[in-house]
Amino acid sequence: MAENARSSEGPYLRLTGIAKSFGRFQALHGIDLAIERGELVTFLGPSGCGKTTLLRIVAGLEAQDWGTIVQDGRDISRLPAIRRDYGIVFQSYALFPNLTIHANVAYGLVNRRKGRSEIERRVAELLKLVGLPDSGAKYPGQLSGGQQQRIALARALASAPGLLLLDEPLSALDALERLRLRGEIRALQQRLGVTTILVTHDQEEALSMADRIVVMNAGRIEQVGSPRAVYETPATPFAADFIGKINVLPGVAAGRDRVRVGGRALLLARNDLIEGSAVKLYLRPEDVVVHRDPATGQGAANTLAAQVAKVEFLGAFCVLGLAPEGTDFPALSANVPRHAVDAGGLEPGAHIAITLPPAALRILG
């Protein structure tokens, strides 16, 4: 794959103030985003939040109302789609049903007046790249969904575009194929080093594939960061709730470093709170520390007695539904490894103690 000549320093793709309305409905509110060369960025958010619209604006398939797009040092804000440099893959594959796999992959090459042998070589190379070297003579309808999506990927990569756009490429596939293709796409992308935007509403997909995640909600960016950063330090309540599960504990600041929740004062790892202000504490279920012995740490800070209300088995781990005792502390859930449940003492009705580590209690937004 030809290495793209760097025509400038700085990000490969820069979006500035992108806004878009459909009639009265504003789909995007001033999106600013920079994407580095060779990285895989996912747009993650609920259905209807504007991910596809933003991707189509990058492709020139939709025109933004406001804002600029600079790709590889070149202002492409007003360029029609056909003159931009990208390959695109859709959820529906959009393979041409009446053309063979070979003709599908060669579709854009033929138009570039390349030599016949060069096209043959390139198509063979691409089919091998996506792991379907012998499918050239078949028609799309004769392949499985996952195979069709691989062909769509080969077609999009055929002319070695500088930018690869993927709009929910895995959503139409069954769970097994989805998992397999996830890894394949990521490996391929890293091997080719092609700058890639992947649109998805599936948080697991985003977490496992992305270099960076752009969390979107209602036409705005909520947070941009690495999968770890987005998960561990969500910037907003929306980001915290959308990615992974999280406990929400409403309370009132009882000092610079503590919050009163349901009659219990919880210590936090910060000391900038204003006493008396209402706050919400966020706590990932896996950060809750579970003690089988209800007497553990009696009276210690952030430790309270609780009763197991239910146990949900989720394969590798279990989710405990917990009802803290004695106070009107809100119910919360905790993740524990399966073998911890197997060891006994965590059955529904069991009395236990839990600790909410100060460093894991966060205030967002």
Partner: protein, 577 residues
């Protein structure tokens, strides 16, 4: 990829201004074609209709007289009677045809009787013939020298009775097609659920079948009503002294050369058809919402009594339909009804060939061929631009509106509009007047709506991102159009071609004002032969039309079958029958 940035790269986005994307020349081309389509439709549809409006408020000398002519018209009792006659006949025809067609369609979809394919074909045969054929045939059966005249017990067939039975014959296949589609679309799972719950047959009929087919029934009723109101051939031939609006227009225009009166009657005729059209339109909108994409077709189980009864009914109807067609064919092959029934080709040789009338048949063939070819190209091309390109939403909305109007315009009205518009000295297109071209144009416009809907449905079933993919691959849209869109839509394209051909062969109302001695069409020739009392040659001409239409339908079936076999490598099994 740096090459793409050369030459006419659009300038940067001006701060604080709404971004306007630069258009690629290919996008410009697509938009230019779209605008051209819109302009052509507007010109050839709205121009003529507008002229009717203008003429209706002018007197013969072109002076504005307001609604005076309407008052005149409504003040003439004989003419006013036409309105009641027209509506009355149309209501009776609708009331009889719909139950007949519904029962027939019900038998085809819900029973396990044998011979369904044959019944279906026979049920649709009337579509192959001009409506005049029915009128001629019924005259042979029940007319002054009719074989079954005594059956009518003294009531003459000429008049309301003849119009009603001929119209039932002519409208039956149209109603059948619509109701069949509605019943086929209904979800079989509902029936299976009802059967497993032990719901009684009659109850099932009233709670599932009828509601499911409701919109189809209304739609069919509106089509039958409009057809009967608009048809001119039947009342002209068998109507006797029973005046109806369509014939009134003809008399005003051809008989008295009074175009202004003709325009007034046209507008009066347009009214009930427009009402039916609007009702149908709104119903169709709801029907689409009613069916889920995953509806499962119903598979009928054997029920001896029901299947038997349905078989008897269908056999009866099929025999009656064949008796009408058969009588016309028979008449064309005997010497002189009813005196000399020996076989003879004289109506063809002497009546058509020697008289030179046969030329009109070849005119019809040529007109139908050109209509099918150019009409299909324009209609499909326009639908493609409409559905698959971007920009100019206003123009698109206008095209959608224009494409739906022809369904609501009776052929007589369109035809009159065409003379008024193209005969106008100031119209630069008036050179078209009296040419084959104008006949083609009028026919394409007349049958635009159904063809357009077929094209749009086929295009909508394609993946909506083909055009986006092409753009990303730097392939021009027209290349994807001919490499992908047309091949995938070929069955629908052929269907449109066949529809236009058959209708161009049988149409009379839209073209009866537009032909010249050089461009007389077969259906018009039947009319003129009948007027001259030449029933034999008229029947012979009708037979030729049926043969031509039927041949094209057979050809279509064969080509489609070959096509589907050859492309089954990539085509998924064809839906439906």
């Amino acid at each position: 990829m740096a090459t793409a940035a050369t030459a006419s790269a659009p300038g940067p986005v001006a701060a604080g201004r709404v971004v306007r994307q630069a258009l690629h020349w290919q996008e410009r081309l697509a938009l230019a074609l779209l605008v051209a389509c819109c302009a052509a439709l507007a010109f050839f549809l709205l121009g003529p209709l507008f002229m009717i409006l203008v003429k209706s408020v002018q007197d013969k000398d072109g002076a504005f007289v307001g609604l005076l002519q309407f008052r005149d018209y409504l003040g003439t009792p004989a003419l006013r009677q036409s309105i009641f006659n027209t509506l009355g006949v149309a209501l009776v025809v609708t009331g009889i045809t719909i139950p007949l067609a519904f029962t027939f369609a019900y038998a085809l979809t819900r029973s396990a009787m044998p011979g369904k394919a044959v019944f279906r074909v026979v049920g649709l045969t009337p579509i192959l013939a001009p409506s005049l054929l029915a009128a001629i045939s019924f005259i042979q059966w029940f007319g002054n020298q009719g074989l079954l005249k005594p059956l009518l017990g003294g009531t003459p067939v000429y008049g309301a009775l003849g119009i009603v039975i001929s119209s039932i014959y002519a409208t039956f296949p149209h109603a059948l097609m619509i109701i069949l589609t509605a019943l086929l679309l209904a979800d079989g799972r509902l029936y299976e659920a009802a059967e497993s719950l032990g719901t009684r047959t009659l109850r099932r009929f009233f709670t599932i079948t009828l509601p499911g087919a409701k919109y189809g029934l209304v739609s069919a009723a509106m089509v039958v009503f409009s057809y009967t109101v608009s048809d001119f051939g039947i009342p002209k031939v068998i109507g006797g002294n029973f005046n109806v609006l369509a014939v009134d227009i003809y008399k005003q225009v051809i008989g008295q050369q009074n175009f202004n009166k003709g325009a007034v009657v046209s507008l009066i005729l347009l009214l009930p058809v427009l009402v039916a059209f609007v009702v149908d339109w709104r119903m169709q909108g709801r029907q689409h919402a009613q069916f889920s994409a995953r509806a499962v077709p119903y598979v009928a189980r054997r029920k001896p009594w029901f299947d038997g009864a349905m078989f008897v009914y269908c056999t009866l109807v099929a025999l009656l339909l064949l008796a009408v067609l058969g009588m016309a064919v028979y008449t064309s092959f005997i010497k002189l009804w009813p005196y000399d029934k020996s076989f003879s080709l004289r109506h063809y040789t002497f009546g058509l060939v020697d008289g030179g009338v046969i030329v009109s048949f070849f005119n019809s063939l040529r007109m139908a061929f050109v209509t099918a070819l150019l009409g299909t190209m324009f209609i499909f091309g326009c639908a493609y631009l409409l559905e698959k390109t971007r920009g100019m939403p206003g123009t698109r909305a206008l095209i959608r509106l224009l494409a739906s109007i022809p369904m609501g315009v009776p052929g007589m009205v369109l035809g009159l509009g065409y003379i008024l518009f193209f005969n106008h000295p100031d119209n630069p297109f008036n050179v078209l007047y009296h040419t084959l071209t104008i006949l083609v144009l009028a026919t394409v416009v007349h049958y635009y709506t159904s063809s357009h809907l077929t094209a749009v449905t086929a295009l909508k079933s394609l993946d909506g991102e083909f055009e986006s993919v092409s753009a990303s691959l730097k392939v021009p849209f027209y290349k994807t159009f001919h490499r992908v869109t047309v091949p995938v839509c070929l069955p629908a394209i052929l269907d449109i071609g066949r529809y236009l051909f058959v209708n161009a062969m049988v149409t009379i109302s839209a073209v009866v004002f537009l032909y010249s001695p050089d461009t007389q069409l077969a259906a018009v020739a039947i009319l003129n032969l009948d007027e001259a009392g030449e029933i034999g040659p008229a029947a012979a001409m009708a037979t030729l039309i049926v043969v031509a239409s039927a041949s094209v339908c057979v050809l279509y079936a064969l080509v489609t079958r070959v096509l589907l076999t050859r492309t089954q490598g990539w085509r998924r099994p064809a839906p439906g029958n």
